[in-house]
């Protein structure tokens, strides 16, 4: 019986013109997403390699490590080709200075602002926006439409258990939509290596889970549609209701969540933090200026030669600069930590509210798995800060100081050229696959919960449904 109903549902959906059009559009979109994603990945990889080479090249000929203008770059991840997340929004370049905090700049959208307006087509977009809408279009009249057509009455004139009927409808519509969806995705996956995207095993595993999450998300909208269809008498009512739910789930709730969180948790702006830092820096600088004046006014030892005094001055300057850097760093760290904590609190509020929407839950799961969630920026920032420490140690090792006061101390023109390749290498290390999966697990669980809740609702509503 169950198989018969599934088979009927499959044939009914697949045999419709609506399906042919939808399948064509979906296939085109998915293949386009793979192509566009792969092209973007290629461009990003080329940009990255060129930037790394250029960074080293511009150091050639320098004789003083303190004059090095060092930058690090975020290496593109293969999965960003398919689930871009925030990867195009965050800065991919960080200027590393011993005396300045690292700050990322130069995002993809900075270069191509048009994409910030319209965004790229990627798998996450196709699933969360297009697929959810198609799911509604196919299933909004699953129950009440059959009643309107009179087929439900005829079907239930037979010894058909209602639980099997509703389960068959769900499975049938799921398979009818999922299988044709998987076909272009598998073709796209097969094309990835040909399009120059080299996926390692971790990326394949994560992509597999992203697709599974997408299917769970499809299930959410199917069960929701069957639920609403079982609760309403007319298919036009269920369609309108589902459209409203879709608009709220996909468009309104995520944006509202960010707005509400912004109101609930106050986070100082980067400019405000910078202002505090620069005020503190000015204060330290004023104090150091006094110390420098005192040094200048202190009488030189009788036996002290001019050159020795200059060396002592340089050492004193360097010491002051190091102390200043240390104090600024500690102060900045406190401010940054406070800002980060507030930011995290705001994120928690925003994401907590956003998770009311299955679309947000799917987006969070997919970007977590692809490594392009909010965590990408945190990881890159942490990596940049760690690199800055390594870089500072390297500079101290090479020059004897952090170089904070190099411009006051003059430049050694006669020294040998530096070898830029001695610089500690920076490579953004992707987390192990288990980390991505672990961070996505709560959202995957919520997607499952949505499925169960809506199916239970549909099931109970259909048990009491008037099939006449």
């Amino acid at each position: 019986m169950l198989r018969l109903i599934i088979d009927k549902e499959l044939r009914e959906i697949i045999g419709s013109t609506k399906f042919a059009v939808t399948f064509g559009v979906m296939s085109l979109l998915i293949l386009l997403a793979f192509y566009v994603g792969a092209r973007n990945y290629q461009i990003s990889t080329q940009d990255y390699e060129a930037a790394v080479a250029e960074n080293l090249k511009q150091m050639e000929g320098l004789t003083d490590w303190n004059r090095v203008d060092n930058r690090i770059f975020l290496k593109p991840e293969p999965l960003t080709a398919l689930v871009s997340g925030i990867s195009n929004d965050i800065g991919r370049t960080v200027e590393i200075q011993t005396q300045w905090e690292p700050r990322s700049e130069d995002s993809r959208f900075n270069e191509d602002p048009i994409y910030a307006v319209f965004r790229f087509i990627d798998l996450e977009f196709i699933f969360s926006i297009v697929l959810s809408l198609f799911a509604i279009l196919f299933v909004y009249d699953a129950v009440n439409g059959e009643k309107e057509r009179g087929t439900l009455r005829l079907a239930f004139a037979n010894a058909v258990p209602r639980d099997k009927y509703i389960l068959g409808k769900l499975i049938g519509s799921f398979v009818a939509l999922a299988v044709p969806l998987l076909v272009p995705i598998l073709i796209g996956c097969g094309l990835l290596p040909l399009l120059g995207v080299s996926m390692d095993s971790s990326s394949w595993i994560r992509l597999g889970i992203v697709i599974a999450a997408g299917l769970m998300y499809l299930g959410v909208f199917l069960t929701l549609s069957i639920f609403v269809s079982s609760m309403t008498e007319r298919s036009s009512s269920s369609f309108l209701l589902l459209l409203v739910v879709w608009i709220f789930a996909v468009l309104i709730i995520p944006r509202t969540a960010v707005f509400v969180a912004g109101r609930a948790v106050d986070v100082p702006t980067v400019d405000a933090i910078d202002f505090q830092k620069s005020s503190y820096m000015s204060q330290l600088w004023d104090e150091d200026m006094k110390k420098m004046d005192e040094f200048r006014r202190s009488p030189a030892g009788q036996a002290e030669a001019q050159e020795d005094r200059r060396r002592r001055w340089r050492a004193y300057m360097s010491q002051l600069a190091d102390e200043r850097t240390e104090k600024i760093d500690a102060f900045a760290q406190r401010l940054n930590e406070d800002r980060r904590n507030r930011d995290l609190a705001r994120q928690r509020v925003a994401l907590g509210i956003a998770r009311i929407s299955p679309a947000s839950v799917f987006t969070l799961a997919a970007t977590d798995l692809a490594g392009t969630s909010l965590d990408l920026k945190n990881r890159f920032d942490v990596a940049a800060r760690a690199y800055r420490e390594a870089y500072t140690r390297f500079i101290v090792d090479k020059t004897g100081s952090s170089g904070a006061g190099w411009w006051m101390s003059g430049n050694n023109q006669d020294a040998e050229e530096i070898n830029p390749y001695e610089l500690p290498a920076f490579e953004y290390q992707a987390a192990p696959v288990s980390d991505y999966v672990t961070s996505a697990l709560p959202d995957l669980a919520i997607l499952m919960l949505f499925n169960f809740a809506f199916f239970a609702g549909a099931f109970l509503a259909f048990l009491r449904y008037d099939v006449r």
């Binding site: 018969l4 044939r11 009914e12 057509r149 009179g150 005829l154 079907a155 004139a157 037979n158 010894a159």
Partner: protein, 261 residues
């Protein structure tokens, strides 16, 4: 309310056990509307029972109770002795149903539709030839077998619906206004088909407005009005009677009684 007249005379050909039984069947909706008032009747194998009555008389409610689409307020609808609201699935195994306006899946062909509903009715061994034979029997042209239902006329859909009922091979058949909207030729073909099903031993309960068809094919005619069975007579009892006149008289008489009470 007077009990309906009923005589078992003329039902000599029936078997002893009724396949369809309404026992004091009553249905009152939550808003207080009484759709059926203690209606009792029986339909035996090899018998056609025609329920006559106007709109809102309770004919479709009675059929809905047999199909367990609704539950009775009191009384019982039984199919082969099985109380429908207690064991609906078992009861439905013994029932086939043709609605007033047969609606099937428009994207499926006639063959695909009859195949699906035959399987849903528990008949899984049929082959294409079996479907073709039954579709031919109900008068559907062979060229229509593999056409989608989308372009079918009401008569063609009705034929498919009857084919589905035949294919289910159930001992009892419920027909809800089956000739409504059919042209005279199709109506006549349908009556012949009904006769042949009766000859096969099916118990057929048919609701209809059509007095002419009812008289032509029914072994027992019941007249319903405002949820009550106001008259019930066998073919023999109706011999020489003008059913149309009886119908009008009973309706009028019932209304007078109702007004007096």
């Amino acid at each position: 309310m007077e009990p309906p007249e009923y005589s078992a005379a003329g039902l000599a050909s029936r078997s002893d056990t009724p396949l369809l039984e309404a026992v004091e069947l009553t249905k009152e909706y939550e808003d207080g509307t009484v759709a059926l008032r203690a209606v009792s009747f029986e339909v035996y194998p090899g018998q056609v029972y025609a329920m006559l009555g106007g709109n809102g008389a309770g004919k479709t409610t009675a059929i809905n109770l047999f199909l367990n689409f609704i539950e009775p307020t009191s009384g019982e609808a039984r199919v082969d002795g099985i109380v429908t609201h207690k064991e609906p699935l078992r009861a439905k195994e013994r029932l086939a149903y043709v609605s007033e306006n047969v609606m099937l899946y428009p994207n499926f062909t006639a063959m695909q539709n009859v195949d699906f509903f035959a399987r849903l009715g528990g008949q899984t061994r049929y082959k294409r030839e079996d479907y073709a034979r039954v579709l031919t029997r109900v008068g559907l042209q062979e060229s229509a077998f593999d056409r989608r239902l989308r372009g079918f006329s009401k008569g063609m859909r009705q034929k498919c619906g009857i084919a589905i009922a035949i294919l289910k091979n159930a001992p009892a058949i419920l027909l809800d206004e089956p000739t409504s909207g059919l042209d005279p030729k199709a109506g006549m073909e349908f009556i012949h088909l009904l006769e042949s099903l009766r000859d096969e031993g099916k118990a057929i309960l048919m609701s209809t407005h059509d007095i002419f068809r009812a008289k032509e094919v029914a072994d027992v005619v019941g007249i319903m009005n405002e949820g009550s069975l106001v008259m019930q007579r066998s073919r023999e009892e109706l011999e020489g009677e003008n059913l149309e006149k009886l119908y009008v008289e009973y309706m009028a008489g019932y209304m007078e009684n109702a007004q007096r009470n």
